[in-house]
Assembly symmetry: C2
Homo-oligomer: 196 residues x 2
Amino acid sequence: MGNIVYIATSLDGYIACKDGSIDWLNEAGDRSPEGEDYGYAHFMVDIDALVMGRSTFEQVLTFGEWPYGSKPVVVLSSTLKNLPAHLPPTVSLSAEEPLRLVQRLSSAGFHHLYIDGGQTIQGFLAAGLINEITITVIPVLLGSGRPLFGMLASDVQLDLICSRAFKSGFVQSHYRVLSPLIPSAAGAEYHPEGDR
Amino acid sequence: MGNIVYIATSLDGYIACKDGSIDWLNEAGDRSPEGEDYGYAHFMVDIDALVMGRSTFEQVLTFGEWPYGSKPVVVLSSTLKNLPAHLPPTVSLSAEEPLRLVQRLSSAGFHHLYIDGGQTIQGFLAAGLINEITITVIPVLLGSGRPLFGMLASDVQLDLICSRAFKSGFVQSHYRVLSPLIPSAAGAEYHPEGDR
């Protein structure tokens, strides 16, 4: 556990179309067996809080009902000034850098963070702040869109924890990131570059 | 069968570094159990001929010994004028368009083609000329490099045939392309857009 990515991509690595649409994902989901949630509910049990970018947040708002109940959600944005009034008080806005945010949430007792949204995930990965990644690959090629992954200063090695294929053709693989900046053990010491 | 892609990528979808290097792949291979070929020999048994781009061909030349024996290999290039003299006569150069090449090879009795190299695969996919794709995902993020997939005029739907995880952490998934331009049955009729 620690900071975790749990996300679906096309086989060519996109999490959304260029305009942010995830119709292709919803259509794939509609072809899934009734009640199949691909481990999502089980995964969410151990999550203390969510961190998501503005784009993902706006996508979530289109779902209608707020899907995260009273679980704390931090929306990362440098432009948003207010959140819609109907959201629960557990939703907050932040413009913090990833490391500072993780440190603050850890101090508040939130050790297992679900990191969501392409740019947010890329920022956390580049900062060495992702501990685990579960990717569910949907059997479709989009050809273009918003990629899950981005630039990195150096290669990131991973350990495969497990992988499984579903009847729908989705392939879900669960990886541990080797040598992240912050170890995944709750309350572990921090070793940011500047503090050594 | 039909026209087949069989390739390894990083988790972020690259088949080589920007300079064409596949050191990261060789290093991952070196960590594989002795004798593990990830199904390659089995896959090659049914292949009638290989089609590869110039970049992949030049990579293969660095291996030293020519690895394809007397299996026909077509090197696609619009710039190469000659092949090294030490190569077997089963290696040939071509600047044909994918459809024309596939038709010519089919007429010559070569129905199961191994399509290799990023640009070549992208060209064949965009032309609707890929029937199956086997991707072996290596547990590493490169951050940049030469991507396996490229632009497409429209989504390409796939069917997962099977997926398996190896002890090395490699995840290999085998897909059938739905609605390719040319059905995979050997000798099937062609239905190129212009001929309907």
